[in-house]
Amino acid sequence: MDRVNIGWSKDDMAKLVANDIPDGSYVNLGIGIPELVANYIPEGREIIIHTENGLLGVGPAPAPGEEDFDLINAGKKPITTIKGACFFHHADSFAMIRGGHLDFTVLGAYQVSQNGDLANWSTGSPNDIPAVGGAMDLVQGVKNVFVIMSHTTKNGTPKIVKKCTYPLTGVAVVSRIYTDLAIIDVTNKGLKVIKLAPGIDKDTLINKTEADLIL
């Protein structure tokens, strides 16, 4: 019962991220929870969503039966296009990414360290099938890297750590972290908490975080 109204849901987190993306932004959304952000772009804002497999102007999911499997996102799910959309090949797509033309990317994570290192592609386990996709390019090239993730693992292990133990995706690349418990900025002084979720106090947050926090 004590879980009611404590912390943010996945949709709450997606809504918070969407609210922080200004009108006119070019945004790349990662696979999973980040995809939800597209559902919460506030009325009146024009945001152009990039998908690294070659489209600027991702629209809403197609109605059942209307799927076109040659029109998909990075997660290989069917999508639609908005008016004004354009297609391009992979080298151009990653020129947009690496060349600093995108304003935001929103990614999931296994771990974020207190200096903004990101680990989100491998757990380092020998049984893992190695797969990296576009994550390493996105974190190097996109101006603002937002991470959206649960604050801890399912068994309570902190995911915001002093130093990542999982293989890195990039060094000092994360700008802001949205978790179910707080919004935290990565600054050159350290991790600065800018908002606490409902029902979460400072001590709870500190207890669930391995890294040092500026509160």
């Binding site: 992979h90 080298a91 690496r98 190695p130 990296v132 996709g133 390493m136 190097q140």
Partner: protein, 239 residues
Amino acid sequence: MINKIFLTPQEAVADIFDGATIMIGGFGEAGSPIELIHALIDQGAKDLTIISNNAGSGHVGLAALLEHKRVKKIICSYPKTSFSEVFPELYCSGLIEVELVPQGTLAERIRCGGAGIPAFYTPTSVGTSLAEGKELREIDGELYVLEYALKSDFSLVKAYQGDRYGNLIYYKTARNFGPIMCMAAKVTIVQVNKIVELGEIDPEAVVTPNIFVQRVVEVPNPLHEHVLVSQNKKYPWTE
């Protein structure tokens, strides 16, 4: 007269040799030239090095090529998809060599291969395990990793329309790696949904200029990988 049109996928892939390096287009099933891959399975070439973003799903297309043990090495960015069964099994049994490349680096290595640029520096993967053993260079205070171009003996690509010169247009996000893989091959083999007359594709709208294409074969209604996977089909077809 220039005529790059081949009548069947079988003819178009007939001279692919053992040990060849082959780029295969597609991002998942979008843009994957499934009929050309099936023709390659029938043709029998082996010890292949495949360059492709993914490693196929189910037991058709690229996954079937792997399953028939024709591939000794794959260079890719993301060999794990929801219905990929063949690759994980080969990988865990040590039966396939993998070179894992970040997706943007893979695209740029291919583009450079086609553009006569032997290598380039990129910020991608700096400070990660994928940069280990690679040359690093500081430029304007930032670190970059040296990456080498990729070229192929053959590229297998799916496009939407082509003409007998080899001009191509693509369909939606099935374009993905097609245009750059066309550039990076000694012999580029393209399956198109429709062959059109010269001039039918607006010169302003051509995506792949004909000089990058050697063979065009019409496959009017290409198979859909997700349909075959949902029906649990295996190539070669058993019934």
